[in-house]
């Protein structure tokens, strides 16, 4: 088996299932259904404590920016909040009014000492579209079309204070202990702070772009360090369509396959070869082109995969270990799927869940090539997620499971599977896996 599948613990499947089933359609029933989950376990016995749930939900909906993002990620990871919901939230919350022309000028004067009209041959003062923490302008210099990304002021400073806001909320929502919260918050805070550092994004974008240049079907922007700074990034303008528009044009199967394969290879290669990955597999970060090539944008969120973590998940996916109960249990403990103070029943529950999850997620790899348009497969994932959601042991658990390093990997693979499903792409799944892993794939 391959290790990237191991990076997708149980909760990930649950999220994927919700996502697929609802197809972004969020209705009142949905809210009612899931608000029951928000109720704290001890209150759960009272027939309906929806008021309480609604209160928590309301608090969540009032969060902004990074606080929202954290609440969203943790909720998704816990299966408390359906992905479709939290996606909607994020979209809504990031619809900040565009920066005014004068503020754009001020930002340039702060970092470059001159107005944008002096830096570029042409600069469109109206933003073309909003990015998550900034906006994108079109410009031209020396005959080259450029995309100029400008960060909203004060974003970096607000991250830390936002996290301070969301912390007590997370404690209330999940009933976690401080020690457990720290485990996740360290990881999230460092990613979020990194995301506001455009100089880091620039260097990582350049690094990943050059490392992945040998991959087929991918296009990376060319960066211009001299025209970039702490809150400004200048890159070559890339043409392409966002996923929705691309699919609306009914691209032929061969084109969808090529686009999906490019994305799949991109992530396989990063996880297994670079051990550094673009950790934001959100449809908005890719542009799809008529020939099936994919342009990759936005390297704000990049996750370095520590060797120890990689090896751990790698070992968990080894077929031999799956067959060996004791070794599997050791692996689960190391990966924080099973905790030291778990009762024997809990151990059985969680190892069982994780094993089922692995079997399901590993399916594409077992077959060597896989059709992500297979709704039966995603339905099976969904059904599994439903079963898990009804499992009181999971619903009432007060301990976060899974390693913090898995948080972003889960999110990324969740995003990737979702995009591939929407593309209905057929993928060769074994490319760029390390040799030993490929050899261990059971014949389909």
């Amino acid at each position: 088996m391959s290790e990237e599948q191991s990076n997708i613990p149980a909760s990930k499947i649950e999220r994927a299932s919700r996502f697929v089933r609802t197809g972004f359609k969020v209705g009142g029933n949905y809210l009612r259904h899931y608000s029951r989950r928000l109720v704290e376990p001890e209150l759960d016995r009272s027939a309906l404590d929806e008021q309480n749930a609604a209160d928590i939900y309301k608090t969540l909906s009032e969060l902004k920016g990074s606080a929202l993002k954290v609440a969203q990620m943790l909720s998704m990871d816990r299966g408390i909040m359906p992905a479709a919901f939290s996606e909607q939230f994020t979209q809504a919350q990031y619809q900040a009014p565009p920066l005014s022309g004068p503020l754009v000028v001020r930002t340039f004067r702060q970092y470059f000492g001159v107005a944008p009209s002096e830096l570029y041959d042409e600069f469109d003062p109206r933003a073309v579209h909003a990015a998550s923490i900034g906006q994108v302008h079109r410009a031209r210099k020396d005959g080259t079309e450029l995309a100029v990304k400008i960060q909203y002021p004060g974003v970096a400073d607000s991250v830390v204070s936002d996290l301070r806001i969301v912390r007590p909320l997370a404690r209330q929502l999940f009933g976690w202990k401080d020690r457990d919260l720290d485990h996740y918050f360290e990881e999230i805070e460092s990613r979020l702070v990194e995301e506001t550092d455009y100089r880091l994004e620039l260097s990582r974008g350049m690094e990943i772009a050059s490392s992945c240049s040998r991959l087929d079907g991918l296009v990376f922007p060319e960066y211009y360090p001299a025209l970039s700074g702490e809150r400004v990034i200048t890159m070559r303008w890339l043409d392409g369509l966002h996923l929705d528009q691309f699919l609306a044009g009914n691209p032929p199967q061969a084109v969808r396959d090529r686009a999906g394969q490019a994305l799949w290879d991109f992530y396989n290669y990063q996880v297994h070869v670079l051990r550094l990955m673009h950790a934001d597999a959100h449809p908005g970060n890719f542009l799809f082109r008529p020939d099936g090539t994919v342009a990759v944008l936005d390297f704000g969120c990049v996750k370095q995969i520590p060797s120890a973590f990689y090896d751990l998940y790698f070992s968990l996916l080894h077929p031999a270990i799956l067959a060996d109960e004791a070794a599997f249990l050791r692996g689960c403990r190391a990966a924080r799927i099973v905790m030291d103070d778990d009762s024997p029943e809990e151990v059985a529950t969680y190892t069982g869940i994780f094993r089922d999850a692995l079997r399901l997620v590993l399916q594409p790899f077992h077959q060597g090539s896989f059709d992500f348009g297979d709704e039966a497969y995603f339905d099976a994932i969904y059904a599994y997620g439903e079963r898990m959601g009804r499992n009181p042991a999971i619903r009432n658990s007060r301990t976060p499971r899974g390693d913090k390093d898995g948080l972003y990997l889960n999110r990324t693979y969740f995003g990737l599977f979702t995009i591939l499903n929407r593309l209905k792409a057929r993928i060769e799944t074994l490319r760029y896996l390390p040799g030993p892993l490929q050899a261990q794939q059971p014949a389909s």
């Binding site: 022309g101 503020l103 000028v105 003062p125």
Partner: protein
């Protein structure tokens, strides 16, 4: 700031360097080596020097705006006011240390005799035609007597911005930038024709006898 006037220049430097204002013209004169009589003949008090330094910064802001091609390209009063505010912040940055001392010693610059006193008039003169153009274009609602207060509203914006900036410890004063953006947007949401105007129109209609 006006380099041509050595007294103002020396005063701002002295205050910034010492972290306090001199107790009297004599103390400042002795410390700076400038003749006290010379200072007194040109400035009635130290306060007047401070007011003039602040005014210099504003006049420098206007000079920059006049020579800015970006400023010439703005077609709405809202953009023009924002450009004024951001350029002003840029110029104020030259004297941040000096202004911080004044801010710490007297808090809000709202008093009629505060260091901003001499600047209020020129500020109003600058924004008045911008507002009038906005009214002519329909960007801003003409509300008869109420319109006279528009320039005061913008001056209040400027004072709020100043205070926010002096208290701002964020990197590159980014929070002030965000605050100005929101403040001016809010102000113009009030100035442009809105529910208030349709409400007044409705009331006028209802109380009219047919």
């Amino acid at each position: 700031m006006n380099q041509a006037d050595p007294i103002r220049h020396a005063y701002a430097q002295w205050v910034a360097a010492h972290g306090k204002r001199p107790a009297s013209i004599q103390e400042f004169a002795a410390a700076s080596g400038i003749d006290a009589a010379d200072i007194s003949s040109r400035y009635a008090s130290l306060r007047v020097i401070e007011q003039t330094v602040f005014l210099d910064l504003f006049l420098e802001t206007l000079r920059r705006l006049r020579s800015s091609p970006e400023y010439a390209s703005y077609e709405t009063a809202q953009e023009q006011i924002l450009a004024l505010m951001y350029t002003w912040l840029e110029v104020l940055g030259q004297q941040r240390a000096f202004l911080l001392v004044l801010h710490q010693e007297e808090g809000l610059p709202y008093q009629p005799e505060g260091y901003t006193a001499l600047t209020a008039g020129p500020f109003r003169q600058w924004v008045q035609p911008l507002l009038q153009d906005g009214i002519d274009r329909g960007e801003i609602a003409a509300r008869m007597a109420l319109s006279q207060w528009y320039q005061d509203a913008l001056w209040a914006n400027a004072l709020v911005m100043l205070r926010f900036w002096l208290n701002d410890r964020s990197r590159n004063s980014e929070r002030t930038d965000a605050a100005v953006e929101k403040l001016v947007r809010f102000t113009f949401d009030l100035l442009r024709p809105n529910a208030l105007d349709s409400g007044l129109d409705l009331i006028r209609f209802l109380i009219q006898k047919p």
